[in-house]
Symmetry: C2
């Protein structure tokens, strides 16, 4: 018999909670017989949403959480004070091994803090990076770190490279993933103090396939599988990626509506264009794992709808099956650590 | 009689030198009667290009430069050794007031180094930032700094904000330009050490209209006129902007060629789409000034063609006419400096 993966899901987090979250959870258990979801949130609210759908009752369980952490709250304080919030309860379920993973579209800050403080880091991991997949011309790349670890040190970046390689190889199936560091030029002597210090460490790291610097311009071409950077830069890349994409797509659409001629043309190109733009839509690729924790925590976009929630839940199965954390423990915690 | 603006142009710099550079220079003097261009480069090569066009002979003069600095050369060494290169000769013309401005599509590093070492900083300016205009939904924003001043300090960023405001107000005609600092969240307490230190300084700076943090996602929406950041982040933003834009446009074009139906549609939307995408093309907006120097130095894209060269040369006229450097001197060097 197949093992069942237990995924705790924050029913209260994100712009479209609880409706889209609940729908995403139901779709996940409908698609995959090996998943059980614990929906964490205000019981009556969640049950109200559940009542709208039909699903196999034993595969979804509601866990009552009377409190909700708002995205505007200071994360450290919120995690400390709101012990009965969906985020804190979800993290505790992972910590106590009642769940294999926790998925949330809620406050990034609270998720990052909760991951470190409640779930805890794998021994040897200095900072747990947030590592979303970003779309490229050739497929996807892992951008690591986009989290809260600003002002990181070079040793952190080396660990990001190792954890990112393990993830891409085992979850995405990329053989010998190419690792690059974000830089402002291709040459080894370019960069700021952090990059100059990190570059030789990555170059001499035996566990990864380091291919050198990558300029931001080349990220969308898919020139590397694992893109290493500190969190401030990573956050800028992730958000600008979304921003430029959304703006351009909006401008293209508006441009097509300008004349009668172009409107007719728009009708004809629409299906082909839709397919193209879908491949460049980050929400297709599920959530971002927070790597290096004693359990799996996945942050999905605040704007997540059902599809992204479903994809994020299903992603947890591969993570567990491929024993990512055991591999990280062996690589970072073991004798091969730096 | 109108004053003539003298612009030294690096005929040897960039991917399309000297052909497109020479053409751009000729177009500039043809469009504007108040410009004289000094084309700096290998005499016989430049004259060969000039011979292909007809133009008013007295408005273009060739300055022989036997050497060329390659983009791959270490900048400091190249500027020191190649005294007869087009970049060093052009910088010297600005220093000696033989030219009002120098425009080059050549080595960014050599231009940044040459600007500081040869042309020199305005007294009181700590670091001269490179400040390109980037397209947005609403027009353009100034991204400052995208230069080589990595690992900047907070006092530098405050000066960038002041110089950027002067530029946007006087060259672009934006009244009371909105200044924002690039951050990973909208709240004041967010950010890395540099941003946290700079935020209150900008907030308390009386000379600028500081509107707070800007997330990378909102940059393409045109939410600020002057976008302040340190050079590493600025470089990532600039290059990712170009990269995502180019990739998406390429994917849209390829997507339209997928089926017969979409091919016909593509023919119909083409003119409207071309117009839209043109407004999002950075080369429309000329080059990036290196602000805070004793003279004007403009860096244009390495891939510049004639049109961008022409725009960059014409840009120098407004800079001179609006007395930008006098305003920077008064603001930064004077009693209102920090």
């Amino acid at each position: 018999m197949e093992e069942t993966i237990k995924v705790a899901v924050d029913a209260m987090g994100g712009d479209h909670a609880p409706g889209e979250i609940v729908k995403g959870a139901i779709d996940a258990v409908t698609l995959r017989p090996d998943i059980k979801v614990y929906l964490i949130g205000r019981q009556e609210v969640v049950e109200q949403q559940l009542a709208k759908h039909s699903y196999q009752g034993s595969r979804i369980e509601v866990v009552h959480a009377p409190e909700v952490i708002d995205t505007a709250e200071p994360p450290v304080l919120a995690v400390r004070r709101k012990k009965q919030s969906s985020i804190v309860l979800g993290m505790n379920m992972v910590k106590e091994k009642k769940a294999d993973a926790f998925v949330s579209a809620g406050s990034s800050g609270a998720i990052l803090v909760g991951g470190q403080v409640i779930v805890g880091r794998i021994k040897g991991v200095e900072r747990p990076p947030l590592a979303p997949l970003i779309p490229t011309e050739k497929g996807v790349s892992l951008l690591i770190d986009c989290g809260a670890n600003v002002d990181a040190r070079s040793s952190h970046l080396v660990q990001f490279a190792k954890m990112g390689s393990i993830y891409m190889e085992n979850v995405l199936g990329v053989q010998n993933p190419r690792v690059a560091i974000v830089n402002i030029g291709a040459e080894e002597e370019k960069g700021n103090a952090l990059v100059k210090e990190t570059f030789p460490l990555l170059k001499n790291c035996p566990d990864i396939n380091f291919v050198g610097s990558i300029e931001a311009r080349d990220i969308p071409h898919g020139e590397a599988d694992v893109i290493v950077c500190e969190a401030f830069v990573g956050n800028v890349i992730l958000k600008l990626y979304e921003g430029v994409g959304a703006t351009l797509v909006g401008m293209v659409k508006a441009g097509m509506m300008e004349t009668l001629r172009s409107k007719i043309g728009a009708l004809l190109v629409k299906p082909a264009l839709k397919k193209t733009l879908k491949s460049f839509d980050a929400s297709e690729y599920g959530g971002a794992p927070l790597l290096g924790l004693n359990g799996l925590v996945v942050k999905t976009h605040g704007s997540s709808k059902a599809k992204e929630v479903t994809n994020s839940i299903i992603q947890c199965v591969t993570f567990k099956e491929q024993e990512i954390n055991e591999k990280i423990k062996k690589n970072i915690g073991g004798s091969h650590g730096i």
